[in-house]
Symmetry: C2
Subunit: 239 residues, 2 copies
């Protein structure tokens, strides 16, 4: 039986961002990423700092832990990372969750294809803007977007920190016109423990992004959202 490198299992809580924002869900966070974004808010999944916490778990073991935590109080699981698309065995976890009648969501930057992506209910592709320091491989992303358009389960989400990122977001929007599109305000203070100050800064940044979108005729059929978990719980892990 295949194993999945898991860093955190928690919930039930809300999904704080993107297409299923507010949805009651459990989280499974996998270890490992092929990117190293400047502002990654889960760098512990790939920078070695939490490597002693990684557990190699079978899908059954993950289910047991989800059920122990959530009991009859959940019907949705979000798989996040790191980049879970690096892990072929996620397919077995998704099948198991489907069998149990559990809906699934997953987020990836879109740098790697896995056949199991077709079986995720809500798949978020989140290509990274210039401020991340990463380069989008458009050949791979084009092909993932096209395949999932046939399934109808994908949305695109671009995190925006500055004007250059916003230009990138417009480019992505225009390249993939048929995919529901989300803009998310970036959190550029991922270490503070002063939650009131963080909330204030995030809401100011959110208002800035709203204004950019409102002025832009290229950004009409879009949604602009904050990260609700950051507003409520700050930079705390595991909520």
């Amino acid at each position: 039986m295949s194993r999945i490198p898991v860093l955190e299992i928690f919930g039930p809580t809300i999904q704080g961002e993107g297409a299923v924002i507010g949805r009651k869900t459990m989280f499974v966070r996998t270890a490992g990423c092929d990117y190293h974004c400047n502002w990654c808010d889960s760098a512990f999944t790939w920078d070695g700092s939490a490597k002693d916490e990684i557990k190699q778990m079978t899908p059954e073991k993950i289910w047991d832990e989800l059920f122990e935590l959530g009991g009859n109080r959940f019907d949705h699981v979000t798989i996040s990372g790191g980049n879970p698309a690096l892990i072929t065995a996620i397919g077995e976890l998704v099948s198991l969750l489907n069998e149990k009648g559990i809906q699934t969501a997953l987020e990836t930057q879109g740098s790697k294809w896995q056949d199991w992506m077709k079986n995720i209910d809500d798949l978020t592709l989140s290509p990274k803007p210039p401020s991340s320091g990463m380069e989008t491989n458009f050949e791979i992303l084009d092909s993932i977007v096209a395949t999932l358009l046939e399934v109808g389960n994908e949305t695109i989400k671009v995190v925006v920190f500055d004007d250059v990122d916003f230009e990138y977001a417009i480019k992505i929007r225009e390249r993939y016109r048929d995919v529901p599109f989300y803009l998310q305000v970036g959190n550029d203070d991922i270490t503070t423990v002063d939650n009131d100050l963080l909330t204030k800064k995030l809401l100011q940044k959110y208002e800035w992004l709203i204004n950019k979108v409102m002025e832009s005729p290229q950004m009409n059929d879009v949604r602009v959202l904050p990260q609700l978990h950051a507003l409520v719980w700050g930079n705390k892990r595991g909520v």
Copy 2:
């Protein structure tokens, strides 16, 4: 040509709540309500305080004003109130918007049926919980929910202020199992101009509601959301 009593036209801005949260949209706020909820955040639409601001407008005139404000920077209009379902002529406005290629959203408490409800893209039914002081007419609500289930354009949203409201929300959830369900945290300070304090209170209340939902096995396939416009702009009108 029929006329519609209009109190405000503004935008583009974001839809701050419910099923299309974050969506770029224009707002048309109509005057008049058959309810008088204790905590109504738009009481000026029915309490007489803004009666001199009401304009009787044809759908064409409303379109002209929307276009003047929004130009080529919108493709979505939200019709709110008051209770817009009191106004038969909304049907002509919706047809006109459809012709122009504009998507529409509308919110009503579900106390009155109108045939044009079938032509709204995102129709939110928001029955009012006990803290409002209002009584839900379930005969009418049942029939609206059933008719719109065939169209597939409805969601239900219940605002929750306290434990008794939460019990009401569970009842609504169980009565209408097939309709996508949203819980929204109530704003019980609709006059303050201290936005930082309001944000803090709203986020605390939101966390309280999240916790209620997380503990409840009757509330699994649901979304819990705040009002984003209240977090960003406080109680300011017309944003």
